[in-house]
C-alpha cells in the first residue's frame, strides 16, 4: 500500500461518495429540465403529463411502502391515483426508523426504476459489468477505480443502446421500459396543479435540513460507509468501490433514460408546431425508416445493420421535422428573403438618391 495512512483512513472512503453525489446531482438537473419541458407541452398533452405523473407517483408510493415494510412499521392504507399517492403506516415509528422510511421515500424514486432496468440489462448486455481491482486504496485510486467502473459500464450501455435490435422482443421491451422509467424517474408534477414542494430546490432544502437538524443520522451513514471501506481494505477486496459503482451505474441508467425521454418530449413539442395531419409524419417516419433499413440489411446482410438502422432513423426523423418546420410553418423563413430584402433596401436607397 503506497498511500499515506491519513489518505487511506480519512479521505479514501469519501471518493466514491463524492462520485455518486455528483452523478445524483446531474440526474437531478435532467429531471428538472424534463419538468420544464413537460410544462411546455402540458396544455396540448394533458394525458401524457398525467401518465408521467402516474409513473412517478407509482414509484414514489412503492418506495414509501417499501420503507415502511423495511422498518416494520406496517402499512395500514395504500392509495394511488394519477394525481396523488398515499401510504399510511400501521405504527408511527420515530427516530432512526422514521429516518430510514423517509430516506426510502426520498431516494427510492431516483434508484428503483434504474434498478429494474439494471436487472434487465444483466440479461441483455454482454459487457460493461466490469469492476476494477484496487491495490493501494487511496483517495485518488478509489476515485479512478470508481470512474473506470462507470466508464466501462457507460461504454457497454451506450454500445448496447446504439446496437439495440428493435425487432427483438426483449430489446424492444427494454427500450419501452427505458422510456417509461425515464418519464417516471421522479414525479414531474403531483396533482392537477403544480406544487412547488416537488422541485429540485425542495429536494436540496430537504437535504440541507437533514444535515443541519439530524447530524447524528448523517454521521451514522458516514460511519457505516467508513466501516465498509475499512472491512474491504482489511479483506483486500474492493467491495466498497464496487457498491458505490453500482449506485453510479444506476445514476447513468437514469440519466440515459432521461435523455431518451427528453428526445421524445422535444419531438412532441416540435411536432405540435406543425399544422394539420403533417404533424404525424415524423412519428410515421420512425418505424417506416427503421423497418426499411432493416429490410434492406436483411436482403444485403451487414455487421453494422443495427446501428446504421438506428442512425438513419434518427437522421431521417430529424430531417423530416426540420423540413416540415421550414415548409409547413413560419419557422426558418420570412415572407421575403433577408438577402433580397437587403437588396431591395439598397435599391430603394439608390433610387431615392
Amino acid at each position: 500500500m503506497a498511500g499515506s495512512p491519513i489518505d487511506i483512513i480519512v479521505f479514501a472512503p469519501l471518493a466514491p461518495i463524492f462520485g455518486v453525489i455528483l452523478f445524483w446531482f446531474i440526474q437531478l438537473l435532467f429531471i428538472e429540465n424534463q419538468k420544464y419541458l413537460l410544462t411546455k407541452i402540458r396544455d396540448n398533452h394533458e394525458p401524457l403529463c398525467r401518465f408521467t405523473n402516474f409513473l412517478g407517483i407509482l414509484f414514489q408510493t412503492i418506495c414509501h411502502a417499501l420503507g415502511y415494510t423495511v422498518t416494520k412499521s406496517g402499512i395500514s392504507s395504500f392509495y394511488i391515483s394519477v394525481n396523488y399517492g398515499k401510504v399510511a403506516p400501521k405504527k408511527e415509528k420515530k427516530g432512526v426508523f422514521e429516518w430510514i422510511s423517509n430516506a426510502f421515500l426520498f431516494i427510492g424514486p431516483f434508484f428503483i426504476p434504474a434498478t429494474l432496468l439494471l436487472i434487465c440489462l444483466f440479461f441483455l448486455m454482454d459487457k460493461g459489468f466490469y469492476i476494477v481491482s484496487t491495490t493501494s486504496y487511496t483517495f485518488s485510486e478509489n476515485l479512478t477505480a470508481f470512474g473506470i467502473n462507470l466508464y466501462y459500464f457507460s461504454e457497454g450501455f451506450i454500445g448496447f443502446l446504439s446496437n439495440i435490435d428493435l425487432l427483438h422482443p426483449a430489446h424492444l421491451g427494454f427500450f419501452i421500459l427505458l422510456i417509461f422509467f425515464g418519464m417516471g424517474t421522479r414525479p414531474s408534477f403531483i396533482g392537477e396543479k403544480k406544487r412547488e414542494k416537488v422541485d429540485m430546490l425542495f429536494d436540496l432544502k430537504n437535504i440541507r435540513y437533514n444535515i443541519l437538524h439530524r447530524p447524528l443520522y448523517i454521521f451514522i451513514l458516514f460511519l457505516i460507509a467508513y466501516v465498509l471501506s475499512y472491512i474491504s481494505l482489511l479483506l483486500n477486496q474492493n467491495w466498497y468501490v464496487a457498491l458505490f459503482s453500482i449506485l453510479g451505474w444506476l445514476s447513468i441508467i437514469a440519466i440515459i433514460s432521461l435523455i431518451v425521454s427528453h428526445m421524445i418530449i422535444i419531438l412532441i413539442r416540435l411536432t405540435d408546431e406543425i399544422p394539420g395531419l403533417w404533424k404525424f409524419l415524423p412519428y410515421i417516419t420512425i418505424p417506416v425508416s427503421y423497418l426499411s433499413m432493416r429490410t434492406l440489411f436483411f436482403i444485403y446482410p451487414s455487421s453494422f445493420s443495427k446501428w446504421v438502422s438506428i442512425l438513419v432513423t434518427i437522421i431521417s426523423t430529424v430531417l423530416v421535422v426540420l423540413l416540415l418546420l421550414k415548409y409547413r410553418t413560419n419557422k426558418f423563413k420570412t415572407k421575403v428573403g433577408i438577402k433580397s430584402l437587403m437588396k431591395l433596401g439598397k435599391g430603394e436607397k439608390d433610387g431615392s438618391r
Binding site: 394533458e46 394525458p47 398525467r50 401518465f51 402516474f54 394525481n83
Partner: protein
C-alpha cells in the same frame, strides 16, 4: 336523436359516446393476439431458439397451447368463458385455414399474418360495438342506446334514480373518461359478485367408500350492468358526472318542498270540506225554501 322522440318541453343537454379507450378490456384481447402472433413468428423464424421450432407441428402446438392457456387464465380472472371460446375459435379457424390452403409447411410464416389479420378484424368489431353506444342526457331523462344487430334502449327518469355509482380506472384518469352507473329504484344497474368454495372427502379404499361434499357461497351486490345500460367510459368524466348529479338533484324533492306539498294537500282537503259544507248548506236552504213555498 330525432325530434319526434323527444317529450314535451324536453331539451337535450348532451349526446355522448364511450371513449375509444374505454373498451380496453376487449381491445387488449386483440393486442395479445398481435403480440403473440409476432412473437411466435419471431421465435420460429429469427430467434436463437428457432431450432427448437424446427417442425411445423411444434410451432402450431406451441401457438395453440399458449393461446388456450392464456384464454383459460383470462376467463378465470374475468369469470367470462367467452374469452376462452374466442381464442379456441381463433385456433380452430387458423388450423382450418391452414388445412384448406395447405399452409402447414409454412406455419411459422402463416400464423403471424393470420393473427394480425384476426386482430384487425377484432379491433374493427370492438370499434363498431363502441360506436353503437349512444347516451342522450336530456333535462327529463337519460336515454341509453346500444347494440350492433339487436338494438337495446333504456330510458331512465331522474326521479327514478336512487343512487349513482361512478368509477374511473387508471387509463380513465389519464385520458379523462369514466363510467357512471345510475341505479334505479327497481335495482336496475346492480349485479352480483359471487364466490363459491367446495371440498370433497373420500374415505375407504376397496369396497366401502364414503363420499362427502361440503361447500359454501358468498354473494355481494355491486353496481354492474351492460355497457349500453350505463354511461360507459364517457368523456369528460367529471363534467358529465356533475351534470347528471345536478339533474338528479333537481328532480329530487327536498324536505322543504315535501312540507309545502303536505301543506298544499291539507289546504286542498280543507277546501274540499268547505265545498261539501257549502253544498250541504245550499241543499238545506233549498229544502227550507221549498217547505216555505208549500206552506204559503
Amino acid at each position: 336523436m330525432d325530434q319526434d322522440e323527444l317529450l314535451e318541453n324536453e331539451k337535450i343537454e348532451k349526446i355522448l359516446s364511450p371513449h375509444p379507450l374505454s373498451f380496453i378490456g376487449l381491445q387488449s384481447l386483440c393486442i395479445f393476439l398481435i403480440v403473440w402472433g409476432v412473437l411466435i413468428g419471431w421465435l420460429a423464424n429469427f430467434s436463437e431458439l428457432k431450432n427448437l421450432f424446427a417442425g411445423d407441428w411444434i410451432v402450431i402446438l406451441a401457438w395453440g397451447l399458449v393461446l388456450l392457456i392464456v384464454g383459460i387464465i383470462a376467463s378465470l380472472i374475468t369469470i367470462r368463458w367467452r374469452i376462452f371460446f374466442l381464442y379456441l375459435g381463433v385456433f380452430v379457424c387458423g388450423i382450418g385455414i391452414m388445412f384448406w390452403i395447405g399452409a402447414f409447411d409454412s406455419a411459422g410464416i402463416f400464423i403471424p399474418f393470420y393473427m394480425v389479420a384476426i386482430s384487425i378484424i377484432g379491433f374493427l368489431i370492438v370499434e363498431l360495438y363502441r360506436r353503437s353506444h349512444k347516451y342522450i342526457i336530456s333535462n327529463h331523462r337519460i336515454i341509453f342506446k346500444g347494440g350492433v344487430i339487436t338494438k337495446e334502449e333504456r330510458t331512465l327518469r331522474y326521479d327514478k334514480i336512487t343512487d349513482i355509482n361512478s368509477k374511473q380506472g387508471i387509463l380513465g384518469q389519464i385520458f379523462g373518461f369514466g363510467t357512471i352507473i345510475p341505479i334505479s329504484q327497481s335495482g336496475f344497474g346492480l349485479g352480483n359478485d359471487n364466490s363459491f368454495a367446495a371440498g370433497g372427502v373420500q374415505v375407504g379404499e376397496k369396497k366401502v367408500k364414503f363420499l362427502g361434499l361440503f361447500g359454501g357461497g358468498k354473494g355481494v351486490q355491486t353496481p354492474r350492468t351492460r355497457s349500453y345500460y350505463e354511461l360507459h367510459g364517457v368523456h369528460p368524466y367529471k363534467q358529465i358526472k356533475k351534470i347528471v348529479e345536478n339533474l338528479v338533484q333537481g328532480n329530487v324533492i327536498t324536505p322543504y318542498q315535501q312540507e309545502q306539498v303536505t301543506f298544499q294537500k291539507e289546504q286542498v282537503d280543507i277546501q274540499k270540506q268547505m265545498r261539501d259544507l257549502l253544498k250541504k248548506q245550499n241543499r238545506q236552504n233549498e229544502k227550507e225554501q221549498e217547505i216555505e213555498e208549500k206552506t204559503t
